[in-house]
């Protein structure tokens, strides 16, 4: 199990550092916007009704924006240190998970040769997990109108898988028909289209939502470049051939 152990070791190193850096970037960039949006969310008269009642009178359809599915009975970290600590933990876990996927995929292609190659794999991760799903499902603030969670999760995962498959075909196969097929695979989820909310009405100001999209994209870009670069460095440093 040397290969498995090495993948996990390299990924844990890269994920630990990138996840921690991600936490710092979030606290500088995205979390202030989330907190600001939450003030609009709680100000909404129908917020937190858990979708039990939908406002059918004005819109014809239920306004899912208000159906913020927080279970009031469920444990929630207290604001302040506890919330930040769990954010850091979740970031590091997610970063290690993403790193494992990145390193595993790159082993199929012969393994990362160094930090520079790692950065290109990180850019691929950015395209697969941030750019492509974000086209149809832009980063959303609390209180933004959203479609059904299951539908969005399915579309998100399908889009990430299709983009990864398309990029792999484009990069590692050299035949023109396969390149055409690769672009097709990447385009299909967007032709199908992401699930749309029944209404786009929200109390969250548009400038705030726009700032959030930009901030999430930029933070994710730096995160993925860092994660890929670190993984490439660790792979070449600790798993180098004799």
């Amino acid at each position: 199990m040397t290969l498995f152990r090495n993948i996990v070791f390299v990924s844990a190193l890269a994920g630990l550092v990138a996840g921690f850096a991600m936490t710092l970037m979030q606290y500088a960039g995205t979390v202030p916007l989330i907190l600001q949006a939450e003030t609009y969310e709680t100000a909404q008269p129908v917020a937190h009704d858990h979708g039990a009642t939908v406002d059918a009178g004005h819109h014809g359809e239920g306004v899912v924006a208000s159906a913020h599915e927080h279970d009031a009975q469920a444990w929630t970290p207290a604001d302040g240190f506890q919330r930040s600590a769990f954010t850091a933990l979740a970031n590091i876990a997610t970063a290690i998970g993403f790193a494992i996927l990145l390193v595993t995929a790159s082993e199929l292609a012969g393994g990362l040769s160094g930090w520079r190659q790692g950065i290109f794999w990180g850019l691929a991760g950015f395209a697969v997990f941030t750019l492509a799903p974000g086209l149809g499902l832009p980063p959303e603030l609390p209180g933004m109108p959203v479609a059904d969670l299951d539908h969005r999760q399915v579309w998100w995962v399908a889009t990430a898988v299709a983009t990864a498959a398309g990029l792999a075909l484009l990069t590692f196969k050299r035949a023109l028909p396969l390149a055409v097929l690769a672009v097709g695979i990447m385009v299909v989820p967007h032709l199908v289209g992401a699930p749309k909310p029944p209404s786009f009405e929200t109390a969250v100001p548009e400038t705030l939502a726009h700032d959030f999209v930009v901030m999430v994209s930029i933070v994710s870009l730096v995160f993925w470049v860092l994660l890929g670069g670190l993984a490439g460095y660790a792979r070449s440093r600790f798993m180098r051939a004799a």
Binding site: F4, W75, A90, T104, G134, M239, A241
Partner: protein, 61 residues
């Protein structure tokens, strides 16, 4: 793992079948970790990772 840099290259250390098994296991582990942190419907997990889910543009709420 040892940091001994004279260790065998990864590809030579495993048979093709074992290699595929280990890569499969690793991929499964990675998907499980990301899925748990980003996609779990368990409320406590959602609440703990709330800001992360929004900041990474995972579908949330």
């Amino acid at each position: 793992m040892s940091t001994n840099q004279t260790s065998l290259p990864l590809a030579a250390a495993a048979t093709p079948a074992s290699r595929i098994l280990q890569l499969g296991l690793a991929a499964f582990l990675g998907l499980f970790v990301v899925g748990f942190a980003g996609f779990s419907h368990i409320s406590a997990v959602h609440n703990a990772a709330h800001d992360v889910r929004h900041s990474l543009a995972f579908p949330c709420h």
